[in-house]
Structure formats: structure tokens, C-alpha cells
């Protein structure tokens, strides 16, 4: 029987890790991720898992140890945040290039400076082209559920790529939420046994991992193969989300349309703000405003065709970006959305709203402001300002 509990997002993810029982976890604590590894290491100390827990001296070492352990043939997990992810950066590319199915939480926190420990998505955005699958979560339940699904996605033979589970620091990681945990047995069965493609420890079948390509020049072909695997993970993410729904009653897709079917005004958003946006949409609907939300779940790979189709009927769209891309035309979510919509026959106006940097609060009133801006654009058919800032004192 599933158990209804009150847990923080981090505790929920630590529970998921306990149920998955990975062979190796190598991690370094960093706010706001710390309590995941803290709780998980307690499970290790109490003998509740069989995991080899490697305490490392930095995130660079954490990811390096994960790469080694994964190439050795084990199921590997880790967790990080912000500067920790930044320090892992060069090894992230090795993990994806070697096609190692490592699963990692990135508890979203901004990047310094000035030093700030609160939420935005800039850390994940820095790694968006690293070849990792990136899935964003709205609440503790989704973070827990996605952790379990991520194992299946990463280890699927059509994929074999590392997966980053992204969820908002403090807002999800530290707030206590009501959620349902699956039975240990159900999780164990859902994730199944890990069957590594390669194992450095298998002396019967020696392999050469990470060979030198510098002078031969097959790099281009490898990167393209890796890109194809990333794109090929889209149906797998959808399949695993559906299968997870069958065992848990909670179904997941590549993105979540909320009251989008007949919507005229739509907000595209990732992470915890999706919850706030849905709340605002419910209120607007009561007042007869045809508002809707598209919550992105799989940001990498980006389901461009599917999203363009889901947004084809609306009159005005705001992409919500919890990050900044200095010098670019708007921030990443906006760029992706506007580009995805370019191939639709009808030209729908799209604006960008940059919000919540460094943990700046996003109350419902701010989202209402976005919708009234959209209403104005839908009415006039004209975009007054493409890139906008929400809750900024200016």
C-alpha cells in the first residue's frame, strides 16, 4: 500500500534513493542539496541499503568517481546544486559521452555572484548542452516520482545516458509537502536489475573505455550518435512516465498541459512556479479568462514538435525563465519556445518573462500580471516588449 507522508523534497528524494538501492553513491554536500546526502548516508550507516558510499573532496571528484563506478558496471547516483554542478562541468561531458546511465539530482540554486543560496535555474542551464537528459519537477511528489523513473530512462538500451533531475532549491527541497511513497517492493520491481553494457571489472570481457580520438578524428560521428540517443530518449521518457502511472496512479508525459485545450493565453513554465501558475489559471478561469499553462518536464531533450502542437491554438504566449542569458535574445526557455513555434503556420506572439532570480519570490499576483500582459497582446496583436522582468525593482 502506498504511504501518504509529509516530507521535504530532499527527504522524499533520499527515500527514493533508499528504495532504488544504488550500488555506488559518490557525493559532496552543498546547500540546498545537503540533506539528501545527509539522510542517504544515514541509510548507509544503518545498513538499510547495500550502497558503497564514497565521500569525496569535491564535486569534480564526485562526478569522476561516478564515471569510474558506472564504467565499472554499477548503478550509480549522486546529487548536487549550483556551484557543485559548475565544478562537475567538465566531467558531465565525459559521463554523457561515455553513455553512462548515472542519475543525479540537481537541486536548483543560482550561481554566484554575489553569493546567494536560493533558487533559480541558472545552474541547470549551464549544463543544458552537456548531453545529460534534464527533467524539471514541480513539487516533492514529482521529484520523488521522477527519481524512480530516471533510473529506467537512463538505463534503457535505447538511451544509455545520464539523467539530471532538477527541482527548486528550498521551495521544493526544504518545504514539507504531502506526498505518497510507493512500497519498497514496487520500486524495486519498477527499476529492475541493472544490466551494464560495459564493465571494467569484467576480466573475461576486457574493454577500452574513453579511448583517445584526437588524431584519428571520429569525434563528430560520436557526438552525432550521442545526440541521436538524446533525441531517441523522448519516447522512452514518455513510455516510462506512462508505465509509472500504471503502478502509482500518477501519470507523466514530456510536458504537462493544464487547461490548455481551449486556452487563448498560455504561460510556459518549469519547476515549482508551475504550481503557482495553475492556481492563477484556476482563478482566471472563474472570471472567464481562457488561460492555460504548459509545464515543461523534459527540457533536454526538448519536445519541440509536441509543444508547438500543444500551443498551436493559443493567441499569446509567455515563456517564464528562471535564468538569464546575458547578451542573448531572451533566456533559454523563451528561445526554445519561440524557435519551436516558428514552424507552425500561424504566427503566435511570444514574450519572455524573466523571474525569480536568486530566489526572488513569485506570488500569484505576478503571474496575474503576466496574463494581463498577454491579454493585451492577444487583443492588439502587437508585442510592446519582448523580454520582460517580473518582480524586479526598476
Amino acid at each position: 500500500m502506498p504511504k501518504t507522508v509529509a516530507l521535504t523534497g530532499n527527504s522524499a528524494c533520499a527515500q527514493a534513493m533508499r528504495q532504488i538501492n544504488p550500488d555506488v553513491v559518490a557525493a559532496y554536500p552543498i546547500t540546498p542539496q545537503t540533506t539528501i546526502v545527509e539522510e542517504f548516508s544515514t541509510f548507509v550507516a544503518k545498513g538499510l541499503v547495500d550502497t558503497e558510499y564514497v565521500t569525496v573532496e569535491s564535486e569534480h571528484s564526485a562526478m569522476s568517481a561516478c564515471v569510474g563506478a558506472s564504467a565499472a558496471g554499477s548503478r550509480v547516483m549522486t546529487t548536487t546544486s549550483s556551484q557543485g554542478l559548475a565544478l562537475m562541468w567538465e566531467v558531465l561531458y565525459i559521463a554523457s559521452a561515455l553513455r553512462l546511465p548515472i542519475v543525479m539530482h540537481n537541486v536548483n540554486r543560482t550561481l554566484s555572484g554575489p553569493i546567494n543560496i536560493h533558487c533559480d535555474h541558472q545552474d541547470s542551464m549551464g549544463a543544458r548542452d552537456s548531453g545529460w537528459i534534464q527533467i524539471f519537477c514541480e513539487d516533492a511528489q514529482e521529484a520523488y516520482d521522477t527519481t524512480i523513473q530516471a533510473i529506467r530512462i537512463a538505463e534503457d538500451n535505447r538511451v544509455r545516458l545520464p539523467v539530471m533531475i532538477c527541482f527548486d532549491g528550498f521551495i521544493i527541497s526544504h518545504a514539507i509537502d504531502r506526498l505518497d511513497l510507493l512500497d519498497d517492493e514496487v520500486v524495486k520491481k519498477f527499476v529492475g536489475d541493472f544490466e551494464p553494457l560495459i564493465s571494467l571489472l569484467d576480466t573475461e570481457k576486457p574493454v577500452t573505455v574513453g579511448p583517445f580520438d584526437g588524431l584519428y578524428g571520429y569525434f563528430f560521428e560520436f557526438r552525432r550518435a550521442q545526440e541521436l540517443a538524446t533525441l531517441g530518449s523522448l519516447p522512452v521518457i514518455a513510455e516510462v512516465g506512462k508505465e509509472f502511472g500504471e503502478v502509482s496512479g500518477r501519470h507523466y508525459g514530456l510536458f504537462e498541459p493544464y487547461k490548455l485545450e481551449d486556452a487563448e493565453l498560455a504561460v510556459v513554465v518549469m519547476g515549482s512556479t508551475a504550481g503557482t501558475a495553475k492556481f492563477v489559471v484556476d482563478q482566471l478561469r472563474e472570471n472567464g479568462v481562457a488561460a492555460g499553462v504548459l509545464k515543461i518536464r523534459s527540457y533536454r531533450p526538448f519536445p519541440a514538435r509536441e509543444i508547438a502542437e500543444a500551443l498551436s491554438g493559443v493567441k499569446a504566449i509567455a515563456a517564464m525563465d528562471r535564468s538569464l542569458a546575458p547578451g542573448a535574445i531572451g533566456a533559454p526557455v523563451f528561445q526554445e519556445i519561440r524557435s519551436a513555434l516558428y514552424d507552425n503556420s500561424a504566427r503566435v506572439p511570444v514574450i519572455d518573462y524573466i523571474y525569480g532570480l536568486g530566489g526572488r519570490d513569485v506570488p500569484p499576483a505576478h503571474i496575474e500580471k503576466v496574463f494581463s500582459h498577454l491579454a493585451q497582446i492577444a487583443k492588439s496583436g502587437k508585442i510592446d516588449q519582448v523580454v520582460n522582468y517580473l518582480g524586479l525593482k526598476e
Binding site: 561515455l98 570481457k205 560521428e221 550518435a225
Partner: protein, 100 residues
């Protein structure tokens, strides 16, 4: 597992193994690194006492030996680092500029 790379130059995206993992071990022999050299070690056989110190130190397994005797240098793989010349107690290896 077989690993036939005769036509590797013609391989397309799908022909390469997943994650660039070579499905066999011990294939460094096939990868000739001699071209990286800018200096070449020369072995002066008459000074050599076959002490094997160069064989121990060579980082590229390029000192060829058989039955406790040094036979020469494997120029297909020697990178010209000069460690053997530095370590040889009998001054039996000299480094010279690589011929173009």
C-alpha cells in the same frame, strides 16, 4: 568480441560502438604514437649492460627485451620523452633530434 577496424575511416555514425568503448582490451599496440616524437633515443649497444633500468622506466613500454636482454627500441610507440636516456646508468642511450 571481434574488433575489425580495417575500414574504420569509412565508418558512419551508427557503425561506431556506443560511447566510443572499444570492445576489446590491449589495443594500444595498434595505435602508433611514434609520430609524436621530436627527439629520438639511440641505443649504443656496446655500452649496454642489460640492467633493464630503461625497461622499468619507459612509460610507453617501448624498450624491447627478450630473455633478460635489451633488443632495441620500438619506434612505432616511443614518444621520445628521454626518460630512458636520463636513467641509463651507463650512458648507453642518447637523444638526437628526430629526422624529418
Amino acid at each position: 568480441m571481434s574488433w575489425d577496424i580495417k575500414s574504420i575511416k569509412k565508418w558512419k555514425v551508427a557503425d561506431h560502438p556506443v560511447g566510443s568503448t572499444i570492445p576489446v582490451g590491449g589495443n594500444a599496440l595498434e595505435y602508433k604514437t611514434g609520430g609524436w616524437r621530436s627527439e629520438q633515443p639511440h641505443w649504443l649497444e656496446d655500452r649496454c649492460t642489460h640492467c633493464m633500468i630503461c625497461w622499468i622506466f619507459c612509460p610507453d613500454s617501448s624498450i624491447q627485451v627478450k630473455d633478460g636482454k635489451m633488443l632495441g627500441i620500438d619506434y612505432d610507440h616511443c614518444k621520445g620523452c628521454g626518460i630512458c636516456a636520463t636513467e641509463c646508468p651507463k650512458d648507453a642511450i642518447h637523444m638526437e633530434e628526430e629526422e624529418k
